[in-house]
């Protein structure tokens, strides 16, 4: 076979990386290239340089170093037994590609992951080598996200954190039994052990920087992880529980959910339909509720239906409100911030505006309408000076009144 061109390799190795959900480039330390000899800056807010037709942001050059892999995880398109086309970049090729894209303002930086070749340590060393060349030889100050391999030595993983803005380790599946069944080469305890080590490195580096101005930074954008949804029997309640444990135990910045999507050359152990994409969306909504709206995991679990899954037709916040109608209506002129945040249809920004505005005037329904996206959704759950939903909250068909109208599906919709 003729040697592959960079273009062919990029095609294969970008394709192989697309099942990783994260493309975030936000939340890292501020840095820029003034006074340096290279290029690159990060200014807190991430930038999406393009959007693909799947609606996802393209912020980073997200590729695998190689999609050769000695592991055989059934949900993964790159598993050993899959017969996809294989390719392999050298670290220098990845560096050149990253810089060429960055100079043309296509990307914020690099998200590098890899299949396991030879062994975990060798692979991890190659990943770290890419980051080292970028940072040390080219003084690159853009964003770097490195996927770390839980089986690799802690010392190499630590090295990755010194170069990268963010490191991540995928927990892959919400349950240990799912992991055992679908990823026979991986070990849940090892994964969590590695995440624990990264957490302690993060804490240590943060502490050191308080005391020594020039202490090295360690992954200033923290660590994140990813779970595949719908590849095993875990319910939304299980997933939410797992995510909140991960947030608590490992101080993760984000838990990403990736709806299992049909992959070419799927393993026969996955006798599955693809889960509705909306399920992934509902999980992200519940994630938001826990991170920004003050919901506890137990609150989200209360919003699930009898089968332990969140309803698909309405969002989890509305589902919770419909289950706990006694908590409503909420008086927008008197209620606390926490109470307002529980009102379906009021976001964090709208609540902030309500709190600020009500110091100046007693809010009427029309005022609230100006501050929110949709007053019809909010109306049954609030009181204002001139509005009180007398019958609405008691109506049995409230759910059907508020749920988005079912759409006629297109015959050939994707």
């Amino acid at each position: 076979m003729a040697a592959q061109t960079i273009l062919q390799k990029l095609e294969i190795l970008a394709d192989a990386a697309k099942y990783d959900a994260s493309c975030a480039s936000s939340g890292t330390a501020k840095k820029n290239s003034l006074g340096g000899k290279g290029i690159g800056s990060t200014e807190g807010m991430g930038i999406c340089h393009a959007y693909a037709p799947d609606g996802r942001c393209i912020s980073l050059l997200k590729i695998l170093l190689t999609n050769h892999c000695v592991f055989d995880c059934h949900y993964c398109v790159n598993r050993k037994s899959s017969n996809v086309a294989r390719a392999r970049f050298t670290p220098q090729e990845v560096v050149d590609l990253t810089l060429a894209f960055y100079r043309r303002n296509y990307i914020e930086g690099l998200f590098l992951s890899s299949g396991i070749v030879k062994n975990s340590n060798h692979t991890m060393e190659q990943i770290v080598e890419v980051a080292r060349i970028l940072r040390e030889e080219h003084d690159f100050r853009g964003y770097i996200h490195l996927k770390t391999i839980p089986e690799a030595d802690a010392e190499i993983v630590h090295q990755a954190g010194l170069y990268a803005d963010r490191v991540s380790i995928n927990v892959e599946l919400p349950t240990d039994s799912g992991l055992t069944r679908l990823a026979p080469d991986k070990d849940a305890r090892q994964i969590e052990g590695a995440m624990g080590k990264v957490k302690s490195d993060l804490v240590e580096a943060k502490d050191a920087r308080k005391r020594f101005k020039h202490a090295p930074r360690f992954a200033p954008a923290g660590q994140s992880t990813q779970m595949i949804v719908g590849a095993d029997a875990a319910t939304d309640a299980d997933i939410v529980g797992k995510a909140s444990r991960l947030y608590d135990n490992f101080r993760l910045r984000r838990v990403y959910y990736s709806a299992f999507s049909p992959i070419p050359d799927a393993s026969a152990v996955l006798p599955l339909k693809r889960p509705p994409l909306i399920r992934e969306h509902r999980l992200y909504q519940s994630d938001w509720l826990m991170r920004f709206y003050g919901y506890k995991p137990s609150d989200v679990m209360q919003a699930t239906e009898a089968d332990g899954n969140l309803p698909l037709d309405i969002d989890p916040k509305l589902a919770w409100a419909l289950k706990f109608r006694e908590a409503f209506p909420v008086d927008v002129n008197r209620a606390s911030k926490e109470q307002l945040l529980r009102v379906p249809g009021l976001g964090v920004k709208a609540v902030g505006k309500i709190l600020a505005s009500r110091r100046h005037r007693a809010l009427r329904l029309d005022d609230v309408a100006l501050l929110t996206q949709s007053i019809t959704k909010v109306r049954p759950f609030i009181c204002t000076v001139d509005w009180r939903p007398i019958t609405l909250t008691d109506r049995a068909d409230l759910r059907s009144l508020l749920a988005p109208k079912a759409e006629q599906l297109e015959l050939f919709a994707a």
Partner: protein, 478 residues
């Protein structure tokens, strides 16, 4: 009021701004006008290129604030909003800001009243400008111009069409990011040039002033097309964040129609490759028999061969699974009738298992071979092929419901477990299966056929021991 001495009653003031985005100029004029107590409806603000003629009769000389005028009050929130809002292309922005400043003097906390129409409008302008700036950071695309002159080196040039007057305000972002690169951003409202040390401004430019392409764009388009997952088309989400008005200056956008149109086909192809999962299971052995003859899910099915169905009682307690039919099985159409089958019969008889009471089948239903002259040489099925064929063995198990499955050889074990195991490690002990039955793994009899001397004796002894253990276990389960 004292200020009235300086302001002629009913005078209409016209303020001409030197630049559309000159906040400091506006601030200075607005401060003086407030101090002279000129109400908002007596001022016209005219930006360069604006419709100044309408106000030809206005007073262009600014009033002079009285010495004892009160200082003008504006809180930090207002100043930060105004700085941004003044970059908006709405010609009314100066008047709006003046009106807000005017009202702030009597109600200093009005910026908090988010339901006020003026406050809402200025926040909207601010939001639009911030969004436009953010999109500029995101969607500017530099193209490389290589100069013959060694001294000059590489020069990166971008053409961009911002909606608002944001170019100058965003110079710093690009300077901090590309500080060691020579670049220019050309827009219809003006241009910026950075040579690695100093920033300079140039006149408005046109599209053809910028280069028309860059060799790297092919790689970028390849990346864009490959990172897109056709199984999750969400065009609305893309358009919301990347409206069509930006597309014309983004090299990757030309691919979008094609990607969208091809997505359904690409997803169908992805699903088709794993299509077995989406069929309905046959519910009788006869239906399986019929279906496997038509099965072309893997390349083996397309060879010149016949499918070989398992045989035995439908309620057998023991299921024996081999690898795949051999040459003779393929011709006769029954499992385990060739040399390996005969050897199996000998050993089964020796330990006292009645083959007729067991359901005997194979992990792979078709004979895989390579043609060597007249002979068809056996080939091991690949992991992928075994995994594909698992569908059938699972269907057979669902109907026969054996209490114990005996897998002979690594291929058979994979067919039951979905992963490759080492025979020497797993033999001799039960492995629980998901439906509650148990799996025992042993070597394949053809393995014995390939050995000679003491090695064969040793393996035959192990094989017998495995069979004996299975027999004992079967009696326990009965």
């Amino acid at each position: 009021m004292t200020a009235l001495q300086h302001v002629k009653l009913g005078t209409y003031y016209v303020v001409h701004l030197p630049e559309a985005d000159d906040f400091d100029f506006w601030r200075e004029r607005a401060r003086a006008l407030v101090q002279c107590d000129v109400p908002p409806d007596r001022i016209a603000w005219v930006e360069p290129g604006g419709s100044g003629d309408l106000f030809a009769h206005g007073e262009r000389r600014m009033p002079v604030p009285p010495m004892d005028a009160k200082p003008v009050r504006a809180n930090r929130r207002f100043v930060s909003l105004a700085r941004n809002a003044i970059l908006h292309s709405d010609p009314e922005r100066f008047a709006l800001l003046y009106r807000l400043l005017w009202r702030l003097q009597s109600s200093p906390r009005m910026m908090e009243d988010k339901a006020d129409p003026d406050v809402r409008r200025v926040e909207e302008l601010d939001k639009n400008v911030r969004r436009d700036s953010h999109k500029m950071h995101a969607f500017v695309r530099f193209r490389l111009v290589e100069s013959e002159d060694e001294e000059v080196g590489e020069h990166y040039v971008a053409w961009f069409e911002p909606e608002h007057h944001i170019l100058r305000a965003n110079a710093g972002f690009f300077m901090r990011r590309f500080s060691n690169m020579r670049w220019s951003i050309l827009t219809p409202r003006g241009s910026l040039h950075w040579d690695g040390e100093t920033m300079s401004e140039g006149p408005p430019a046109e599209r053809h002033d910028a280069p028309g392409g860059d060799p790297m764009e092919d790689l970028w388009r390849t990346y864009y097309a490959s990172i897109f997952n056709p199984a999750r088309l969400k065009i609305g989400a893309m358009l919301k964040e990347m409206p069509k008005k930006y597309w014309k200056n983004m090299p990757e956008a030309s691919l979008i129609p094609e990607l969208v149109a091809g997505a359904q086909g690409r997803e169908a192809k992805m699903v088709e490759k794993g299509a077995l999962e989406f069929e309905e299971r046959p519910d009788t052995l006869a239906a399986i028999d019929k279906a496997i003859h038509a099965c072309r899910k893997c390349p083996i099915g397309s060879l010149d061969n016949h499918a070989v169905m398992g045989e035995g009682p439908q309620d057998a307690a023991l299921m024996i699974v081999g690898e795949q039919p051999g040459d003779q099985e393929d011709q006769i159409g029954r499992p385990f009738v060739g040399p390996a089958g005969q050897l199996l019969d000998v050993h089964l008889e020796k330990v006292g298992i009645d083959r007729r009471a067991a359901y005997v089948t194979n992990a792979v239903k078709h004979f895989k071979y390579v043609q060597r002259g007249k002979r068809r040489l056996h080939q091991n099925p690949g992991a992928k092929e075994i995994d594909t064929c698992r569908w059938w063995i699972e269907s057979e198990r669902a109907i026969v419901k054996p209490k114990l499955v005996l897998a002979m050889g690594a291929s058979a074990a994979r067919g039951l477990l979905g992963k490759t195991v080492s025979i020497s490690k797993v033999r001799g002990a039960p492995i629980p299966l998901e439906d509650g039955s148990e799996l025992w793994v042993t070597a394949h009899p053809s393995y014995l056929l390939r050995l000679e001397g003491p090695a064969r004796e040793e393996q035959a002894r192990l094989f017998d021991a495995d069979l004996a253990a299975v027999k004992t276990r079967l009696e326990e389960l009965a």
